[in-house]
Amino acid sequence: MKIALFTDLARSAFRRPVTERYPFEKRPAPPLYRGQVSWTAEGCTGCMLCVKDCPAEAIDFFTLDKANKRFVFRYHTDRCTFCGQCAYSCRFSCITLDDEAWELAGGDRAAFVVTYGRPEDIARVELEELPATGA
């Protein structure tokens, strides 16, 4: 008759529980962590690779004026699977996945849609209810 866990028990009895007290104590995510997507217009050529390869169709892209680089990038947090393919596909590093924005649960559906772009462009997209490019 051998009882094998005795030493573990003795050790655990005098150890702090390992359970994380999550909402009260937060552990920072590692730098590579794939959280919410953000986009900057700088360098974007409107090639649409990010849209084509997104497995979740989480990106709507609006090309207002390709020559003058007027784009609007609408991102659906609730559809995104945080795979990072968009950031990988983009050859101009316009897209990053934020390692701090990962507590994304919410009760309001509208808040999941994040639109990036110049304010006047966004206003135009919304006002005229333009269809996404390629959609």
Binding site: I3, L5, F6, L9, S12, A13, R15, P17, V18, T19
Partner: protein, 315 residues
């Protein structure tokens, strides 16, 4: 009269006992969690659970007797609460006492198990049936050694020619004048404690409610109030059982307020041992439980009694 009522309804029996039972359950869960390196529940969790269950709708399954379905949990709790009247709760003198109450208490303690078994057997659910079968099988396994082990101190006193009795109140008083029976009857002490774990269906004797095999065993169909009453009955039984083993094996009850504190501390100490065992041991299959009790448990008790007789003859 009022004193009796207070004793009966609030302290040490009645509501006070139920509260104590839930607190003991918390100690059990908390220690188990800590031994497993988890956080564990906060102190009010068992109370919250019981309250929540009491407030929930009870669903009565088709195909079983509505009367039995409602009556069995009440009976189980009543049995456990009645058993508590004859034991020295928290080291205080038993609320009621009469010659032979030790035997009655032991049977009242089995009432809970019987009720759980019947509750399972009278529904048509397969998991309940399988659970009930296991409850009864397990009961036949541990019951005899457990009862014999709890009778051992009285028998030992008798054989030693000391004043003895089948009355718990007197027995624990004479036990107080003796060296702890834990030292003189170590084997039956172990059997009594492990038997208590069997009675309470704690691991490794939790085959009757092994969730990965038969969901919740005999109580699968219970919800709401019925389930709450059963779990309260279990909580009460935990206190009664620990009290009984402490009173009989760990030096009876003394006098004065400090004695009560000491006694309660002893029961908690026993609970600690029980939790350690729960943590360390993997669940036994029901046939293995039966084997363990008949091959080992009974033989151990008989060996202890044989030793007693030999001592008696030698003197």
């Amino acid at each position: 009269m009022t004193r009796d009522l207070i004793n009966l309804l609030f302290f040490p029996a009645g509501l006070g006992l139920i509260a104590a039972g839930l607190l003991y359950q918390w100690v059990d869960r908390k220690l188990l969690a800590r031994f497993q390196n988890r956080l564990g529940p906060r102190w009010f969790q068992p109370f919250a659970d019981a309250l929540k269950l009491l407030g929930k709708e009870e669903i009565h399954p088709a195909g079983s007797s509505a009367f039995l379905f409602a009556a069995l949990p009440v009976l189980a709790l009543a049995g456990a609460l009645t058993a508590a009247l004859y034991v020295p709760l928290f080291g205080l003198a038993p609320v009621f006492s009469f010659p032979g109450d030790l035997i009655v208490t032991l049977y009242l303690m089995s009432l809970l198990t019987l009720c759980i078994g019947l509750a399972g057997a009278q529904t048509r659910d397969r998991f309940s049936l399988a659970g009930a079968l296991r409850v009864f099988t397990q009961m036949f396994a541990y019951e005899a050694p457990f009862i014999l082990a709890l009778l051992s101190p009285a028998v030992a006193l008798m054989l030693a020619g000391q004043p003895s009795s089948w009355q718990i109140g007197e027995l624990v008083l004479s036990a107080a004048g003796q060296p702890w029976f834990l030292l003189t009857l170590p084997i039956t002490f172990v059997v009594a404690l492990v038997g208590l774990m069997g009675k309470l269906e704690l691991p490794p004797f939790d085959a009757p409610e092994a969730e990965t095999e038969i969901v919740a065993g005999a109580l699968t169909e219970y919800s709401g109030r019925g389930l709450a009453l059963f779990s309260l009955a279990r909580a009460v039984e935990l206190v009664v059982g620990l009290t009984l083993v402490t009173a009989l094996y760990l030096g009876g009850i003394g006098a004065g307020p400090l004695a009560a504190v000491l006694f309660t501390a002893k029961t908690i100490g026993l609970l600690l041992i029980v939790v350690v065992l729960q943590t360390l041991l993997a669940r036994l299959r029901i046939d293995q439980t039966v084997n363990l009790w008949w091959r080992l448990g009974s033989v151990l008790v008989l060996a202890q009694w044989l030793l007693l007789l030999i001592f008696r003859v030698l003197r």
